[in-house]
Symmetry: C2
Subunit: 212 residues, 2 copies
Amino acid sequence: MRIAELACASGVSATSIKWYVSEGLLPAGERTGYNQTEYTEDHLTRLHLVRSLIEVGGLSVAAVKDVLAAADDPGHPFGNTLGIAQASLPRPATPPSDESLRQVQEAADALGWQVHDANPGLPAAAAVLDRYRALGRDDLAATLPNYLRAAELVAEADLDAVTKILDQGPAVAAQTVVVGTVLGDALFAGLRRMAQENESVRRFAPTPGSPT
Amino acid sequence: MRIAELACASGVSATSIKWYVSEGLLPAGERTGYNQTEYTEDHLTRLHLVRSLIEVGGLSVAAVKDVLAAADDPGHPFGNTLGIAQASLPRPATPPSDESLRQVQEAADALGWQVHDANPGLPAAAAVLDRYRALGRDDLAATLPNYLRAAELVAEADLDAVTKILDQGPAVAAQTVVVGTVLGDALFAGLRRMAQENESVRRFAPTPGSPT
């Protein structure tokens, strides 16, 4: 298809498409004549992926580039792809305190988790505990044990999804990790809002005649 | 304290502080003389709150304004504060498909959740399922049941935190809802990265001698 058709099918402007090509996020189309380039269904799928990571995942173009470079490299060890998808998490602006790092680590240890010191989730979680403390709301850290058990459930589902497609080759597995990790945060944030309302209704305003 | 001291204690520049005051995010200081304004500890706490919502929660200044206006209004019904904190979730750029909305709704119904159609989490979650579908990865929706159960656990902890401080008045309860909802997403995203590594190690590369 021509670039105008690709733009129409994807909802991404021709200018943005050209920019993604120049940034290496999208392979160049095939030149078929003067000022004429052909794009394929693979370009369309790739564009959907790039836009999903940017719009839903909130990633920067630079972060998308890193993540996709790892996912595209067939020689990339699978464990590293997971690590790179995980690094999509924004780094906290200031390093978290040792106190909060220890607090998260100890909560994870209590569940027998094996997590490397370099896991980007550790400083990200610790930075939130620092904010709670700065706001005089250390009490909010009491949510930690439940959050950890919930994270276990989510990670089980995440790894199930990867395990199921391992026979489709490393490229599909890598795409699963990237899409599932980045978009999964947005999915969970949405479901959490729904669960909060449900829990609030259950506690504070039961519907008359409801079983609870 | 003077504005320079407030800037130093909070790590927020005097220019930003003045801007937050002009935007109504921070109450004005007390004028004590020509070109001299005094700020208090309350200003510092408030600044921490504003910065946390922006930096960790990723909210826009406009979103922070809405959320804090609701939290500050003592007459605001508690249920509404929850709704407004929930609306901090960015609206999907395009409306989600009926198919995905139904898919999320049915998964919630299966757990007996009572959730209003207007809950902002519903379109947010459905929009992610649309992205999975556009990428040809409908299979990733298989994570939904586990994600829902995990969201229940998180919501229980969230509402526990609110219930514990209800006797401290509506302002503290509202702050809990706002901080807990917005920063809780970031906390969970961090813990999820750790849980993914743990689950990956458990399945694919058990440490020699480990009990699992």
